[in-house]
């Protein structure tokens, strides 16, 4: 019945799956949800799987139930839903079958058309059975059952009593801080970067592998067989190259600083270099880019398994990237255009990414961003981007 609510949630970018939507229907059918307050919390618990979407959910909920009459459910929203349904059918037939109350084998035998027919029928069933339910939702979001009176078995809740309707609560947007669009804190960065780890066995076989020893001993009929193995060590090497020059990066200092601080704590084998705008002949070990230059060619001697993370806005005049004498610093004009140097780096370090603090929505305004994006896989310096970058860096 709330099919358009489902659609609306999808529309605002929350990944809601048809299975979870059917779970919600099940909860409604079981009579577990008797007021809009309960609908608000239960639907959120069932449909929304990350607090980062809570804020968006609140907005969608408030918009949806703020005294607006429910429009009659028509066929027009169904395309989106069926597409999602079919995707889920392909990916995870077992749980969809469970949600639709049918055997997995029966489900697999359905044609896509039959499946959609069946799904529609199920929804219509519920629509019929829940006529009463529709009205209370339509009355503008006040619960007829009343606050806190909704546990007939006498459930008493210690703690706050909430004298507001769910809509009002939703409109408060209590979860704004957790929104995906929020700023990147060190904590969040830490979580995202934690997966950047490469545990490999190294050194002599000097640790007793107890499980294996016992297993082999048992296999031997009780004759003791001690098995040794190597220790696991994190051998991930990381090079962090940061664009710290020019006014264009000034806005992003704090977020880059956070990344830098965290990286320094986290990785044992971390080398940090600095550049201005883009890479010409040198990268510098000192932030002032004066004392410790390192020739780009010399990076060839590094382990090619090193993860290279470039951080910069990649925004500059095209000639700075393309021209042989593009550098604004005269001493750096050796004749190779920067784009060649970048390609060289990307070539010697196959595991590389470019983190860009500029919002990805406006990348297409700057030509050099897309040019560099063709050389380095580029990710936005946000939580999502960081996760994507980590995934990319860890693929073998």
């Amino acid at each position: 019945m709330f099919i358009d609510f489902f659609y609306q949630l999808k529309n605002v970018g929350i990944p809601v799956s048809p299975t979870s939507f059917l779970t919600l229907q099940k909860a409604l059918n079981m009579g577990l949800i008797n007021s809009i307050d309960e609908f608000y919390t239960s639907a959120r618990a069932i449909l929304i799987k990350s607090e980062r979407y809570f804020d968006v959910y609140d907005q969608a909920f408030a918009h949806r139930f703020q005294g607006v009459e429910l429009p009659e459910y028509g066929g027009l929203m169904l395309d989106e839903v069926t597409r999602a349904l079919l995707e889920e059918w392909l990916e995870d037939p077992a749980s969809l079958a469970a949600a639709l109350d049918m055997e997995e084998s029966d489900l697999i035998n359905l044609t896509p058309e039959e499946l959609i027919e069946y799904f529609k029928k199920r929804l219509n069933d519920q629509k019929g059975r829940h006529k009463g339910g529709r009205t209370w939702i339509g009355t503008g979001g006040t619960s007829p059952v009343g606050h806190s009176g909704y546990h007939p078995e006498g459930m008493r809740v210690g703690g706050v009593s909430r004298n507001k309707s769910a809509v009002k609560v939703a409109m408060e947007r209590r979860y704004k801080d957790y929104s995906r669009r929020g700023p990147l804190t060190q904590d969040m960065m830490g979580e995202a970067l934690k997966r950047l780890r490469n545990m490999i066995p190294v050194g002599p076989k000097d640790t007793v592998n107890i499980d294996e020893t016992i297993y082999q001993t048992m296999k031997n009929g009780g004759e003791i067989e001690i098995v040794f193995s190597r220790r696991l060590k994190d051998r991930l090497k990381v090079i962090l190259a940061i664009d710290n020059g020019g006014w264009s990066m000034d806005t992003y200092i704090s977020v880059v600083q956070t990344l830098f601080d965290y990286a320094r704590d986290q990785f044992k084998d971390l080398k940090t270099y600095f550049f201005h705008n883009t890479v010409y002949d040198f990268l510098w070990e000192d932030p002032s880019r004066i004392n410790k230059p390192m020739r780009v060619e010399d990076f060839f001697s590094f382990d090619p398994q090193t993860r290279l993370i470039m951080v910069g806005d990649a925004s500059m005049a095209p000639y700075e990237l393309m021209a042989a004498d593009g550098s604004i610093h005269v001493e750096e004009r050796s004749g190779k255009p920067s784009i060649e140097q970048l390609k060289f780096l990307a070539q010697i370090f196959p595991h590389c990414v470019w983190m860009n603090p500029v919002s990805s929505q406006i990348w297409h305004h700057t030509p050099t961003i897309s040019t560099i994006g063709q050389i380095f896989p580029m990710f936005e310096l946000s939580l999502d981007g960081l996760e994507g970058a980590v995934n990319h860096l860890m693929t073998k």
């Binding site: 990944p15 307050d37 239960s42 006498g154 706050v160 979580e191």
Partner: protein, 284 residues
């Protein structure tokens, strides 16, 4: 064999302050027989909730503390090969060495499945384990059965346990995992809620102490760039310390020096910042 009826509802317990939002989520999850995944800052009472559910529903609580090195089978059962080896060599126990069953011990999930009454199963800090562990575990919890390969026997759950899973991680768990859980994020308690929580722990607390402690606590939480902000647990311990210190006078705290900062801030960096903040406040 599953217990389909939910004849009891959860309504909070003596040591736990529950907001009604969370209560209805717990109830819905129990009725739908889905695990409830709780996220939130450390110290917001994720683990306490499972204890409270168990207490209020009068069910035994089984806690599985997830560790990073843990394999799923450790949570299901353990084949005690070492004891068997010992018995086979020195054979002085009542166990029958030729019967492998005698050497199978149930892990936490196994205990919850084989229990004769319905239990609350708390799977604490699931994010410590790797993704495979998480997905495999959900398979087991979905089907409510697992095999013991050594003796080729299937363990089916007698009663579906009430499952509560906690996670500290800021990053998301895998999609299939999330798809099978209900989700709730416990927000940090607001001052009003916090006052109630403190009251539960210290029913006879002096109102002066309460007010100064609360305002100082929330002030301290506002210090920027703190890695591990003090949470409920720290506040409770801190108040306990303040109460036992005979020299402590609540009126003094408003004016500057904050005692026992080490209870609130556990990382040396954070501690330094807090001390800085405290002395800075003093000079103003």
């Amino acid at each position: 064999m599953e217990n389909k009826t939910v004849n009891s509802k959860f309504s909070g317990a003596s040591q736990y302050i529950l907001d009604d939002e969370l209560a209805s989520i717990v109830n819905v999850s129990m009725a739908l027989e889905m695990p409830l995944l709780l996220k939130g800052e450390p110290g917001t009472g994720k683990t306490m909730l499972a204890h409270a559910i168990a207490e209020s529903l009068k069910m035994p609580l089984i806690v599985l503390n997830v560790k990073s090195s843990m394999k799923l089978v450790d949570a299901l059962y353990q084949y005690d090969t070492l004891t068997r080896l010992n018995d086979s060599r020195f054979g002085d126990s009542s166990r029958d060495v030729s019967k492998i069953e005698d050497y199978i011990k149930m892990g936490k999930i196994g205990q919850a499945f084989t229990s004769d009454i319905r239990t609350v199963l708390l799977i604490d800090e699931i994010d410590k384990a790797d993704t495979d562990f998480q997905d495999d575990m959900l398979d087991v919890l979905d089907q409510m059965e697992f095999d013991i390969i050594e003796i080729d026997r299937t363990i089916k759950s007698k009663y579906r346990p009430v499952i509560v899973i906690t996670s500290n991680a800021k990053k998301d768990l895998s999609d299939p995992f999330l798809g099978r859980c209900n989700f709730h994020h416990i927000a940090f308690p607001d001052p009003e809620m916090m006052r109630k929580i403190v009251m539960v722990h210290f029913p006879d607390i002096d109102s002066n102490l309460m007010e100064t402690a609360m305002s100082t606590f929330f002030e301290l939480r506002k210090i920027e760039a703190i890695e591990k902000k003090p949470a409920t647990r720290e506040l409770i311990n801190w108040i306990r310390a303040l109460k036992t210190d005979p020299d402590f006078n609540p009126k003094m705290m408003g004016k500057g020096d904050i005692p026992f900062l080490g209870i609130l801030f556990k990382k040396s960096q954070d501690y330094k910042k807090a001390v800085n903040f405290s002395s800075h406040r003093n000079s103003n």
